[in-house]
């Protein structure tokens, strides 16, 4: 008996486990490898840009940093504006679906919002030019007339409405479904226990959400926002089609002079680029990479600083 038992608990190697865990490890490493490959590709292609001849840069810029500076600014500006608009609305929608709408309705409503995710970015571009920009232009005129003293709303107003603010609206609509979908799943997972605890203390529905749902979902909300931000930072075609770009750092939201975004600038200039011009464009891509890296580091830092208070366990 003893010897039999000894063999029965001693490991025969378990190939399934080995294969599976190595597969997951390989998949994980593959992602790192792809990313490293993209990074190396960008880095190698970028190097000539840093030492490029001043004449290679169009306009008044004479070196890479003065060229890329306004682009970085524009990219972040547009993405942040989009995020500021999209995140509260997305949280609102997710809450509406998870905690306010009648349950039967909620499913269908979720599907409706997912529909937005199905709209290709070209269509967002077409819609932005053809529908949104003409629609908001009169409002811009009013804003500039009334609030022109406030720097971001200073004139002269754009005649077409194709400003960075419109771009931010388009981006916000684009990233809305991603953030909404993830927030929704997370809000639905809030432990009933904690929701009931809040209600039993005499909290109204909103107070219950503030006490139990939002804090519990915070890390998830940040993750979702990061996904959305990533998309907003990297969106190419819609921005290229909608924005009326220029080459400076411009804070005004409603004029036809707007800082361009990196991705859109690449799309606009790549087809005609040659020689070092291509390297310069790819170097701006590298900068976007670095920006994303930094933004994500900040987000991680925020999540980690609240780890002890996270809903886990």
């Amino acid at each position: 008996m003893t010897t039999v038992a000894a063999t029965t608990i001693k490991a025969r190697q378990r190939p399934g486990d080995r294969i599976f865990s190595s597969a997951t490890l390989i998949a994980g490493s593959l992602i790192l490898a792809v990313l490293a490959a993209v990074a190396i590709f960008l880095l190698v292609e970028s190097l000539p840009a840093f030492v490029a001849d001043p004449a290679e840069f169009s306009g008044d810029t004479t070196n890479f940093w003065s060229y890329v500076g306004p682009l970085i600014f524009g990219t972040i500006y547009a993405a942040i504006l989009a995020l500021i608009m999209a995140v509260p609305v997305a949280i609102g929608i997710a809450l509406f679906i998870s905690h306010f709408a009648p349950r039967r309705l909620a499913q269908g409503l979720g599907y409706l919002i997912d529909l937005l995710a199905a709209v290709p970015s070209v269509v967002f571009g077409l819609w932005g030019i053809g529908v949104l920009a003409p629609l908001v232009q009169p409002f811009y005129t009013n804003l500039v007339d009334w609030f022109g003293w406030f720097a971001p709303f200073a004139g002269p107003v754009s005649g077409t409405g194709r400003t960075i603010f419109t771009v931010a609206i388009v981006l916000a609509v684009m990233i809305l479904p991603i953030i909404t979908a993830i927030c929704r799943e997370i809000f639905l997972q809030t432990p009933l226990l904690h929701e009931e605890a809040a209600l039993a203390l005499g909290a109204t529905r909103w107070e219950m959400i503030r006490m139990a749902v939002l804090p519990f979902g915070l890390p998830g909300i940040i993750s979702a926002s990061m996904l959305g931000l990533g998309r907003a930072l990297g969106e190419t075609m819609a921005v290229a089609m909608v924005l009326s770009p220029s080459r400076e750092v411009i804070f005004q939201l409603l004029t036809s002079q707007n800082s361009n975004t990196i991705a859109s600038n690449i799309a606009l200039n790549f087809p005609e680029a040659n020689g070092v011009g291509v390297n310069i464009l790819l170097a701006t891509g590298l900068m976007l990479f670095v920006v994303t890296l930094i933004v994500n580091m900040l987000a991680r830092a925020i999540i980690n600083s609240r780890k002890a208070f996270s809903g886990a366990n």
Partner: protein, 259 residues
């Protein structure tokens, strides 16, 4: 502060399923009342109707009336939020808010009404509630730590502290000790004993010994079979229920002396 609860012919539904039928019961102020009965007989369902937590579940509803000091909880225009302020609740599984510190957990209910509390007021209230829940000594050095870092028994007492911090009139407890070890259980039973002088307390328990130890009056619920509604079978002084019940089913159940 404590209040009298009077329930008249209450039917409780989950959508179309009648879970509890025709309960009428009067609970006097400053007493401890225990609900006992087999699983699924509707104890939890019923106790949750006493502070309108029942309706949190989609499709759930009641018929009949629950009067607290003569005011019908289910009257037209009654605000469930106000009801729940006056009737606190402690759940079976301790559920401190994991995202809050111990102190914030205690003050969670208070902060709802009283946004601007001075630091000293807040500290005083925290201490009072935690002392009331017999937890002060164990946590006084780590009020800023997350509440989820405590042991199960401590967490449960934290929840009690949180419930009494808002100074309700009635406290409902749904199997508050079932997840706890005997020492924590004892602590909570002692607590109930003390709180009795100020609050009306209703407790659901599976533990006959516990019911006989802590309660003044006991209500026995039973159910005829799955799918049938639960009913209040007998309601009397605890000593009577355990020594000399008038219904055979009650005697069968309590004489099992399980738990």
């Amino acid at each position: 502060m404590s209040k009298r609860i009077e329930v008249n012919d209450l039917n409780v539904y989950y959508s179309n399923f009648l879970a509890v039928e025709g309960v009428s019961i009067v609970i006097e102020p400053r007493t401890v009342t225990a609900f006992i009965g087999p699983s699924g007989c509707g104890k939890s369902t019923f106790i949750r109707t006493l502070n309108r937590m029942h309706e949190v579940i989609p499709g759930a509803r009641v018929e009949g009336e629950v009067l607290i000091d003569g005011n019908n909880l289910y009257g037209p225009g009654v605000d469930p939020v106000l009801v729940r302020r006056q009737v606190g609740m402690v759940f079976q599984r301790p559920n401190p808010f994991p995202t809050m510190s111990i102190q914030d957990n205690v003050l969670a209910g208070l902060k709802l009404n009283n946004r601007r509390m001075s630091k000293t007021d807040a500290d005083d209230l925290t201490e009072k509630a935690l002392r009331g829940a017999n937890l002060w000594n164990e946590v006084k050095d780590r009020l800023a730590r997350p509440g989820s870092g405590l042991s199960g028994g401590q967490q449960q007492r934290l929840c009690i502290a949180r419930a009494i911090a808002v100074e309700p009139d009635v406290i409902l407890m749904d199997e508050p000790c079932s997840a706890l070890d005997p020492i924590s259980t004892l602590a909570i039973e002692d607590l109930i004993e003390e709180m009795k002088s100020e609050y009306t307390i209703v407790i659901v328990t599976h533990n006959m010994q516990q019911a006989s130890r802590v309660s003044d009056r006991t209500a026995f619920f039973n159910i005829a079979g799955t799918g049938k509604p639960g009913k209040l079978i007998e309601y009397d002084d605890t000593t009577t229920i355990f020594s000399n019940p008038s219904v055979q089913a009650t005697e069968d159940y309590v004489s099992g002396r399980f738990g």
